[in-house]
Amino acid sequence: MFESLTERLQEALGELRGHGKLSESDIDKAMREIRLALLEADVNFKVVRDFVAHVKERALGQEVIQSLTPAQQVVKIVNEELTALMGAGDSKLAFGSRPPTVILMVGLQGSGKTTACAKLANWLKKDGKRPVLIAADVYRPAAIDQLVTLAERVAVPVFAPGADVDPVEIAKRGIEFAREKGDVAIIDTAGRLHIDEDLMEELARIRAAVKPHNILLVVDAMTGQDAVNAAQEFRARVDIDGVVLTKLDGDARGGAALSVRAVTGKPIKFVSTGEKLGEFDSFHPDRMASRILGMGDILSLIERAQEQIDEQQAAAMEEKLRRAEFTFEDFLVQMKQVRKMGSLSSILGMLPGIPGAKQLKGVQLDDKQLDRVEAIVFSMTREERRHPEIIDGSRRQRIARGSGSTVQDVNNLLKQFREMQKLLRSMAGGKMPRFLPRGFGM
């Protein structure tokens, strides 16, 4: 029941793989699976209908029948159609010719607008921009406090005149504030139902007052069929430019992404993937399609790793690994770098073959576990970290006490470490993995 879209498509297409050529009934069978999988993935049923019809039409064409590998052709078609449906190429923000560039964040209640505002500010800051946050949600209790707190955390200026000021006025004055303090103004608005006449009207007035360069609709990745209603209505009323897809770190299959893209024609620009403020990325439709089809989001992972791991350090590490001189000191450095990339679960989620929580059941994705491992290593002396073989019984007891763990924990870690060294030795001379071997310290 909880097979992922990836698995379902693999199942459907896997059956095709056994045949030399495709019959119409083969294709029908595959299309039925795809249709079911997409519906279970919350893709809107009208979008599903169009998508499946389109794929079928192409699959039935000569290019497949006369191809030497028909199954591969169908995989390719589904992949291409999925990519096309979500929009080709990368989607970028529009920047004004004169600062400040204005970004208006809109959406339903609880979709994650306020958090997305802060994450976007953080993302823009890393990109060399000077974002400013504007608190125009005067309705939800403490929404302003939330944005102010997050602004502090990201260390960007925030304009928050209070809950008794008209949101249109806040937005207008916020732009003035942004002109002085930065170059991008991000306006957080109250969550509203798309059928709430008064609040939708208010949004239209904010839009008219500040003429945003970007209006981004924030959509929860767990949304079901109703995603199309909300998206269509927001587009009709304020003409959105793009979508921010949130809570993508869950195991929702995210069919809403496909639906919203299909019915609004607007690109998904960003994805938000975790509790940490850095867990926010630009959206890559080609990668998303690849991910849906089971190829994993390995490209995103590599990009994030490159951004956050010091290249030279990595090269030195690789050299050490190659000569199997890896010590606990190196281990600490390595661990710090992995952590910079975000939580373990978000990193593993990007690896191919691990599309959802199902496959991860046995694996503990507990960042606190890393804390414990780190504590044990911190409790070792420098000598012990370099030469773990000198750690005897009394040293183990001391380390256990120092790190608040048990001798057994220390033993486990030492054992795993030895195994890893052994593994490294056996691989010596070959190309080393850049990341911690799975299972280590977990």
Binding site: G112, H194, E275
Partner: protein, 334 residues
């Protein structure tokens, strides 16, 4: 269902007073919901109007399936509903649109009604009765607590809120504003502090101040976050340890816009903290919340409350019949 029927453990006088109020209030609520629903571009009634004039044939069944899918009921539950509907249609020789709609509503409400009606009530008979609110981010836990505290006070209860969402920025402030609005006691923890220790303090305060219902707000968390789910388990353990038999209710707050992932949420939260009921929020939009059918069918978790708007009194007891009719005929939930 009425409020005076929604709880286990409220006094008879309080119930009677509320019953009268209910009758007055209901008419205006219903009107408001009708207004809301009429604003939606296409309701399911329109959908059915278009299709059900036709004779009952294969394409009609397909369209019924689509309507169910559109309501987020999910493929598996849809197949079940259609099979039962087909059996009923054959048995009763159903030929018209109205008859089929009635039968559909009946099948769905049967699927939503627990065998023991008592299971649908919210148990506040213990003193203090402890209600733990859990769910993924942004479903409306804090808002639901505010509204429920208001309702409990109307029923002569003395609720106390515990702000154990120490993670999300300003979550404590949000609950605090609700506490002020409904004049309810609140115990809060410092940002970043251990939620279990805040809960401990809250329960101790409820006892020493003699409060009879404790409403615990927890941080929204995706069910896939292993360490956060463990944290929640710890909160539950602390409650269990301090007050035997508690928590008396563990309510999963679910957003009506949620798709098929809702079932997974219910499954994982149930496994972690023994969910006793679902609160379905944001039903005032165009989303139908049909995933609760799948949740009740697959997991047997009763739906207890629904959220239908922004106002204090926009939290209602769940009624399977009304819900089924509203979902599939475009009428308001009351």
């Amino acid at each position: 269902m009425d409020w005076y029927d929604a709880f286990k453990g409220v006094s008879a006088e309080a119930e009677a007073a509320l019953a009268e109020e209910e009758r007055v209030e209901r008419s205006s609520l219903l009107r408001r919901l009708r207004d809301n629903l009429s604003k939606a571009r296409t309701t399911l009634r329109d959908h059915f109007r278009g299709i059900l004039f036709e004779r009952v044939d294969e394409s009609l069944w397909e369209q019924v399936e689509e309507a169910l899918i559109f309501a987020d009921v999910g493929v598996e539950a849809t197949v079940k509903i259609v099979a039962r509907l087909e059996a009923m249609a054959a048995e009763r020789n159903i030929g018209t649109r109205e008859e089929l709609l009635d039968a559909l509503a009946q099948v769905v409400s049967d699927m939503l009604r627990p065998a023991d009606p008592d299971r649908q009530r919210i148990d506040v008979s213990a003193t203090p009765a402890v209600i733990l609110f859990v769910g993924v981010n942004g479903t409306g836990k804090t808002t639901t607590i505010g509204k429920l505290a208001y309702r409990l006070k109307e029923l002569d209860k003395t609720p106390l809120m515990v702000a154990a969402d120490t993670f999300r920025a300003a979550a404590v402030e949000q609950l605090e504003q609700w506490a002020q609005r409904v004049a309810c006691d609140i115990v809060k923890g410092a940002p970043g502090s251990d939620p279990a220790s805040v809960v401990y303090d809250g329960l101790a305060a409820a006892r020493s101040r003699g409060r009879d219902v404790v409403l615990i707000d927890t941080a929204g968390r995706l069910h896939t976050q292993v360490n956060l789910m463990k944290e929640l388990e710890k909160v539950r353990r602390v409650v269990e340890k301090l007050i035997p038999g508690a928590p008396h209710e563990t309510l999963l707050v679910l957003d009506a816009t949620t798709g098929q992932n809702g079932l997974r949420q219910a499954e994982v939260f149930r496994e972690a903290v023994e969910v006793s009921g679902v609160v379905l929020t944001k039903l005032d939009g165009t989303a139908k919340g049909g995933i609760v059918v799948a949740i009740h069918e697959a997991l047997g978790i009763p739906i207890k409350l629904i959220g239908v708007g922004e106002r204090l009194d926009d939290l209602r007891p769940f009624d399977a019949d009304q819900f089924a009719r509203a979902v599939f005929s475009g009428e308001g939930v009351k």
